[in-house]
Symmetry: C3
Subunit: 148 residues, 3 copies
Amino acid sequence: MPDKFASASARHNHLMISELFTVRTGSRLATDVTDLVLQFCRPLGDGLCNVFVPHATAGVALFEIGSGTEADLELVLEGLLPRDAAYRHRHGSPGHGRDHVLPAFVAPSLVLPVLGGQPALGTWQSVVLVDSNGDNPVRQLRLSFVAG
Amino acid sequence: MPDKFASASARHNHLMISELFTVRTGSRLATDVTDLVLQFCRPLGDGLCNVFVPHATAGVALFEIGSGTEADLELVLEGLLPRDAAYRHRHGSPGHGRDHVLPAFVAPSLVLPVLGGQPALGTWQSVVLVDSNGDNPVRQLRLSFVAG
Amino acid sequence: MPDKFASASARHNHLMISELFTVRTGSRLATDVTDLVLQFCRPLGDGLCNVFVPHATAGVALFEIGSGTEADLELVLEGLLPRDAAYRHRHGSPGHGRDHVLPAFVAPSLVLPVLGGQPALGTWQSVVLVDSNGDNPVRQLRLSFVAG
């Protein structure tokens, strides 16, 4: 029996490593999830890690946490997506329409290169769940790994 | 003969599953392509699906379709990329310069985690082709799948 | 010995192809790195290529280079992230706060489908390193490839 068919079948039996996590975001715009991503990747080898939020009013971003950028992002979002604009979307709290536009700009999906179980992040890069929707204080985050 | 060379060669013979689709966008800013993505992924197993538009004036996003967000996105884009700004780009219809800036913010590439042939989308997430360029009513969309 | 364990182990020994490059961005907002990506992918087969900048004040985008869009992006960024806004972030040159918000909108990670060693880019798509931070004239770019 040719090895190549055996290995192809082994390959199809090999499931992607994917896990769903719960993250408490409260009313914070930016929640640092770097540690979660680091822990998830540690036992894995080389590959690509997808960071994904299955929500319509949240996104994932890579930026520096802890030096004021969270507040600066809030400032910029207030310019881009003003709470008091005439949004068509009418569910939820006033200004909730803007939360639904957010993921068009801060996408809910991000891919990280992983080397030897370590995301190859720069020194100042944190993985951040961006959530302008304070009405949902608990969010889900899916991490998925495909080996190289 | 060591199995690992056989399998490595099987691996290189294993092509990525990738298909190019034609999507009629007309003059719509937002075209829902979720069904196309669902159908493409159904026979596939676990892995990552890349949604890609090979165009310089379009992007791909994940947001809720059908509750007014399309109109709200149009409103926000008019603020971010005003039609009447002094764009340097001079080809096409007036204001076409803004269409060329769009993909810097709404990227033409998106990755979805797929489990058992199903993209792990949230309840309100639709895959949306975003196209502010009404001059090109027909677009291409490439879906590519890499198994986990 | 069952082939599938042999091949699974071969699979884990198979490292992702990942390389770190140095890019001179000078004081340019947009640096075309398409050629670098094309060269990196050429010997590779079918798969996904991740383009990643390990920096907190830069992003990666796909847009047309050479027709004025670089200047138009600068214009749009000046509206979205004005240099003279009251940023909380205080390190670096005046207005440096905006550079830290940039990657929330122009993400530092991008995935390209690759077919037979060629990124499936559209005619007018260039891979662009976007860097609003003139204080760092040299940047790193990581390219990683996972076979399909």
